[in-house]
Assembly symmetry: C2
Homo-oligomer: 326 residues x 2
């Protein structure tokens, strides 16, 4: 297996080769823009790794890597419009830099190009069809997850099961599908690829739960976003849902009151809500859930017939992903 840098260099070269120079420029310039403001290129990396677990010919997975990155950025582009977000990775969002209509249409064409890239994968018609089936299911679920997330904003009866399903659809299935498609094109069996899918899906859920925890309890010097952001926005995270479930009457009233008022002092509100997360046991619950999903993920990693070196590499990679704070 290669270094993360090596994978990223390989993908970046492919991305540059395949930049969108077509006309009309007004349609494709925003596509190049959102792809250029980067991020960690995590999803393409997973497709390349999934392939290399089973084959040395990792360039086979480059079209898949491109498809998942273009798809991911399409969802970011449209989500930013829906959230009216002015910035993405510190840069103006597409609809801010250009306009909303450009954002909608450039996003649409990115979704189509994600299919086009995916279809460039070598390996024969049956392989292409199999990848498209995986992609279709994943893409549908991502839209459904985004809708669930929007629904939750106005619902007061969200269950923990529904919340987990939402984060699974909105973020984990893409990570899972990237691994699975990479594994298949690398020559892994359907069974191997399914284990990689489950590895990715469970890692993704664990990662998202950790994000909820860090948002409240992260180190402000290390956490990428503003600590307490979810609390100020009254976001119904796993911590809130579980705290409401475990709270006694007094705690429940306190939490509901805190979440319905505009705070005079944000720091005080953050501390009060965090105390309730601790006192109700919601923080502990979330940490245990996260560890449980990680455990399941590693069980799936252990199933395919891979060398110990490869398994250790993936284990370490997953741990590093999870360790990005703490």
């Amino acid at each position: 297996m290669r270094s993360i840098d090596n994978y990223q260099t390989l993908f970046q070269a492919f991305l540059t080769e395949n930049s969108f120079n077509q006309m009309p420029q007004e349609l494709y310039e925003p596509v190049n823009y959102i792809l250029s403001i980067g991020g960690k290129r995590l999803r393409p990396l997973l497709a390349l790794m999934g392939c290399e677990l089973f084959s040395d010919k990792i360039e086979r997975a480059l079209p898949i890597a491109m498809a998942v990155e273009v798809f991911h950025n399409f969802t970011l582009l449209h989500d930013d419009i829906m959230d009216a977000a002015p910035l993405r990775r510190g840069q103006p969002t597409v609809h801010t830099k250009y306009n909303i209509n450009t954002g909608i249409l450039s996003g649409d064409v990115m979704l189509i190009w994600a299919y086009r890239f995916l279809m460039n994968t070598e390996g024969g018609d049956a392989m292409t069809i199999r990848l498209l089936d995986i992609f279709n299911k994943m893409a549908t679920e991502v839209c459904e997850g985004q809708q669930m997330d929007m629904n939750f904003e106005t619902r007061s009866d969200v269950t923990i099961e529904e919340y987990i399903c939402m984060i699974e659809f909105k973020t984990s299935v893409l990570i899972a599908a990237a691994f699975q498609m990479g594994a298949l094109v690398g020559g892994g069996t359907e069974g191997d690829a399914q284990h990689l899918y489950e590895f990715g899906r469970n890692i993704g859920i664990a990662f998202q739960i950790q994000d909820d925890i860090l948002d409240s309890f992260g180190d402000p010097l290390k956490f990428g976003k503003k600590v307490g952001g979810d609390i100020i926005q009254n976001k119904k995270t796993l911590l809130v849902l579980k705290a409401l479930e475990l709270a006694d009457e007094v705690q429940k009233t306190d939490l509901q009151k805190l979440m319905s008022e505009t705070p005079t002092d944000e720091a005080t509100k953050i501390e009060a809500v965090k105390s309730l997360f601790e006192a109700t046991g919601a923080r502990r619950f979330a940490e245990l859930e996260m560890e449980n999903y990680l455990k399941i993920a590693f069980q799936h990693l252990s199933a395919p017939p891979l060398s110990t070196d490869k398994k250790n590499y993936m284990h370490q990679f997953a741990n590093e992903l999870m360790m990005r704070e703490k």
Copy 2:
């Protein structure tokens, strides 16, 4: 070949069987809504006809018919947001009845489902891949055509060649691809299907040019839209572009003045612009262009090895499409 009603009944039954009953309801209800407010179901009809030219088993083309109808309605949904249109076929548009975010996301999931339906077509993996390649090219061009149309609003140097390319991409390639994919799944050769594509593409361009002409010169009692609507909106139609090209200095100044002022009386402006379309020869040019595209379309129809009955049927169908006014 069947009656138009017969094709439409067949498609409507398939559409009803495949209505979107999945969760979350907030995502799929708008999809059912836009599909229910109907229209003429022209594109699915073309896919079914394209198939029946080569095979009795026209139910083979139903997934293609569904894919093109879902794709077409996805474009309408997103276009209505971009145009801030309150009504579609006399009913509230999706973003008016629900909201813009729902419109964006439901449109996105429709595009994905168009691919899913297309992939349900029988005929083996190679056929599926071929259909997907046609669909990808068409879908990309439709987005590019929509962007060109938006660009033209603020450009003053649009050429007639660019205008024809815009209407070709925005509307004709979908009509063309519906015929082509239907022909392929019906067992037509690549060559036959290419002729059907060119038949549809040229009919589509002729139809759109006719729409420009009728908008100015149509019978107000028969034309579906308000006659003179394009003139009031100062839309750069083929008539305007050609009139500016053919006009003498005085006519050019008159037309540019008419198109830059807010009229005190709309009827007077419409009559003045129409006179210039006549005097410059732009109307005659547009009529000749339309007839030329129709002629090319019928040349392509005559190429495949089809019975005279079938060719006559298609000829008459195309003529009836073009005769809807006049």
